[in-house]
Amino acid sequence: MSGEKVLRLGLSGVIGAAFLPVRAQARAFYNFQTPVTPIARDVLFIHDLFLVIIAILFAAGIGLLLYTVYAHSRRRHRTAATFTQPVGRKQWLWASTPFVALLIIDYVVLGIPALHSIWALADTRGAEMTVQVTAHQWHWQYQYPAYGIGFSSDLSTPARQIDDRAPKDKHFLLEVNHPLVLPTHEKVLLVLASSDVIHAFWVPAFGVKQDVVPGYLRQTWVEIDKPGVYRGQCAELCGVGHAFMPIVVQAVPPAQFQHWVAAERAREAAVQATASATYSEAQLILRGRQIFQSNCAACHQSNGLGLPGAFPPIAAGHPFAASAPMLAALRARGFYRHGLIVEGPVPNHIRIVLHGIPGTPMPSFAAQLSAADIAAVITYERNDFGNHTGDVIEPATVAALKDGH
């Protein structure tokens, strides 16, 4: 790889000297999070280099400006010169030096490290593991095809912290119920898909930001060299919940990762088992409240009143006006009469949560919530918010509908 060698030489030779002293000092102030992947280190290197170069250019420019403002003010310089362009070969040479310097800065000093990093990021070969990342409005879903496990990862900051009714905890808005767990020292390929609009997967410590575009599979990779918890956020405006879909990655050594996989499999098996278990109304409502807050409240609001015109209320008897297609879909399912939201039939309620309502923002939850969770949240919805149906939905009912009956 002689090209690689030349690039590395370029990296260290051309700019190494300028870059070293600043690095230590830059870390002391607001700066990039400590990089933990090769890409993030590359990007930090480029960033530090940039800071030095633009600081020098800015200092030169402002120095020149302050000097001329001082020396060529009317008080000190009564007669203005009259030149309008460089005269003679020597002046032309002087006048062209800044531009030659600029071209060198653009294409050599900055261009070479940039190319190095771009090519490195594009090289997704040799990945030891693949994780499929699916973006939804407004949470992330992670699947490990090789291990047959998967889960969704929702914001776990309670709404009362956002509304300032409770003190905020340390990782306010950057905490989830179920972090993405990745092994360290392994090249992990992330395959990204979106189920609705454009999102962007961004974890600053990984130096990676990749838009997730519906209709495409995008890919990027990470190789984390330090165990720890790394936090990021969606970086493309994706609707009202854009600020509330953080990414939390827990990097663990490979051996520990295998333990986690085993535990995760056991947990999923236990969840499967809950599909045939039965619960009391109180248990379901308790669990349902948590599920509602983390999955439904972003649109339907934690008080269940929804948002006029966009997201229907959960509480029956409330007026709701929206676009004709949305109202037609609600009416067809028995949830809307005479301008008011009503409590429709239980099987339709389950189907809405399982499959969503196509053509409206209501998504399908079949992939991210277990039968027991859906049973719990529907029981909660039908017995809170002023609804007193007394309906108790058991997981088996949901599981039956989920299997297509």
Binding site: Y30, N31, F32, Q33, V43, H47, F50, I54, G61, I62, L64, L65, T68, V69, H72, S73, H77, R78, A80, F83, T84, Q85, A95, P98, L102, D106, L115, S117, I118, W119, L121, A122, I162, D163, D164, K168, L173, D196, V197, I198, W202, G207, K209, D211, V213, P214, G215, Y216, Q233, A235, E236, C238, G239, V240, H242, A243, F244, P308, A310, P361
Partner: protein, 536 residues
């Protein structure tokens, strides 16, 4: 221009040398000065509307809690802030200067197409109303408010959006029509109405900057208008241009938007970059440095700006080679922009400078736009852009570029030409306070945002993690100060335009000014250059 034409203009001037009275003067206006003033008044008004929205944004971001706005309202406010500032404030103001100044600078009696000029202006208030009308409708219970997608209107979020999005797309169509009309008018005027002896390479730099701006507008706005129509048909008529579920491509919209959107940056910038040398030369009492270099740089910037758009999309997942092309081509723009900076320095170097308000704003432009330009160099790097993209670093960068450039330039030009337009001097003391407070407050708002972006705060979020709290508070306090400072500016221009306390301005206004516009009395008569001036 034929002699017959000129003499008919002359007789026209004799019949109507005084402006018509009352509201019809403005409704039926065809006089370039009246229309220019309307553009300026409308633009300044919308600058305050956009500013008010910015204050709302910063109030919400003062502390990490949803306090002032809901997330939906927040998304709507940031969207309308962007659309209003770009389309309804900066563009109309620079078009206003074009209308008012270009005929005066080239010795023409008026714009070439006065009725088109009237129509072009009166589309603007309609478009502005369309942008904010959905809020009014929401107050009476109709709809969900205005567009909430961000000013980039990315699909398929835009297809999901409420009816406010339709209002916005139609508004953009009207704005596009208006800009296209104004651009055609300016090009025809410069091509046809120049006074004898005013050859292309004797045109004032400002006129050249508008020639390139008009060409850019005509080249790129149709793409956005077509895109808006495609969005509307996707939303209502079952097409799937941008919706992946029907085989469309969300990234196509990004390409269409930025094919317009990047040249748009230069459309906002060039007119004030053209006014700046006039102001610098006046107060340095020195001729312009590097006239041809500036003109050719405008041309180069115009051409290059059309072929670099996808540097706004480095994280969208384009092929590696495409990213590399857009990085390398973007870096090349730094050269003609650097030539402009070089000429600005050359113009003041060894001059005999005084520092009246326009000069202060012009120097402030060089500093702030310089920071915007240098950080733009940083962002052109497709690798590092992975970290900067869609963070507050980007937000700070484009505010340094667009406030530091166009808006500082507009302040400079308004103070510079206000005495010419009104016949009275503004208050120099208030002007200087306005400059220094604006400079300090602006940096207080946006310097912390560079640091926030580097620390990892994404843009367009109404609520944020706790580590971003201190810098956000500083930024918000700066924003309140910046907003309050603009009231000084408003008071100063109103006082100059309507008061009688300001000193009377001479024809030349400034000791070092030159150009045909300064051969006319202040304020210039309703009709000017009915007979073309002699160009020495």
């Amino acid at each position: 221009m034929s002699a017959a034409n000129l003499s008919s203009e002359q007789s026209h001037a004799q019949h109507h040398d005084a402006p018509p009275r009352g509201i019809t003067r403005w409704l039926y206006a065809t006089n370039h000065k009246d229309i220019g003033v309307m553009y300026l008044v409308f633009g300044v008004l919308m600058f305050f509307v956009g500013g008010l929205l910015a204050e709302l944004i910063r109030s919400e971001l003062l502390t990490p809690t949803m306090r002032v706005l809901t997330p939906e309202a927040y998304n709507q406010v940031i969207t309308i802030h962007g659309l209003v500032m770009v389309f309804a404030a900066v563009m109309p103001i620079t078009t206003g200067f074009a209308n008012y100044l270009i005929p005066l600078m080239i010795g023409a009696p008026d714009m070439a197409l006065p009725r088109l000029n009237n129509w072009g202006f009166w589309l603007l208030p309609a478009a502005a109303v369309l942008l904010v009308l959905p809020w009014g409708l929401k107050l009476i219970g109709i709809g969900t408010g205005t567009i909430d997608t961000g000013w980039t209107m990315y699909a398929p979020l835009s297809i999901q959006a409420g009816p406010g999005a339709d209002f916005a797309f139609v508004a953009v169509l009207l704005l596009g029509l208006s800009s296209t009309m104004a651009s055609i008018n300016i090009l025809v005027t410069v091509a046809q109405q120049r006074a004898p002896g005013m050859s292309w390479l004797r045109l004032p730099v400002f006129v050249w900057s508008w020639v390139i701006t008009a060409l850019l507008l005509i080249a790129v706005f149709p793409a956005l208008m077509a895109g808006c129509i495609m969005q509307i048909t996707d939303r209502h008529f079952g097409t799937h241009f941008f919706s992946a579920s029907g085989g469309g491509d969300p990234v196509l919209w990004e390409h269409i938007f930025w094919f317009f959107g990047h040249p748009e940056v230069y459309i906002l910038l060039l007119p004030t970059a053209g006014l700046l040398p006039h102001i610098l030369a006046t107060f340095a009492r020195k001729p312009l440095y590097g006239y041809k270099a500036q003109v050719y740089s405008f041309c180069a910037i115009g051409v290059m700006s059309i072929v670099v758009w996808a540097h706004h999309m480095f994280t969208s997942g384009m092929p590696t080679d495409v990213n590399i092309y857009f990085m390398l081509s973007t870096m090349a723009i730094s050269v003609p922009v650097a030539v402009l900076f070089f000429c600005w320095f050359g113009t003041i170097w060894r001059g005999s400078m005084t520092f009246e308000t326009p000069m202060l704003f012009a120097l402030g432009y060089i500093v702030l736009f310089g920071i915007g330009g240098l950080t733009g160099l940083v962002l052109s790097d497709a690798a590092a852009d992975q970290q900067y993209h869609n963070t507050y670093f980007l937000v700070a960068h484009f505010h340094y570029a667009l406030f530091g450039g166009p808006i500082m330039g507009i302040f400079a030009a308004l103070y510079y030409y206000l005495p010419k337009m009104t016949g009275r001097m503004y208050s120099e003391i208030l002007g200087r306070w306005h400059f220094w407070l604006t400079l300090a407050a602006f940096n207080l708002v946006f310097m912390p945002q560079f640091l926030l972006g580097i620390a990892g705060m994404p843009r367009r979020i109404p609520d944020y993690a706790l580590q971003f709290a201190p810098l956000n508070m500083v930024s918000s306090i700066g924003a309140f100060a910046l907003g309050a400072t603009q009231l000084l500016f408003l008071y100063n221009i109103l006082r100059t335009a309507f008061g009688t306390s300001g000193a009377v301005a001479s024809a030349r206004v400034w000791e070092g000014s030159s150009g045909l516009e300064f051969t006319l009395p202040s304020p210039p008569p309703f009709h000017t250059f009915a007979t073309p001036p002699a160009i020495d």
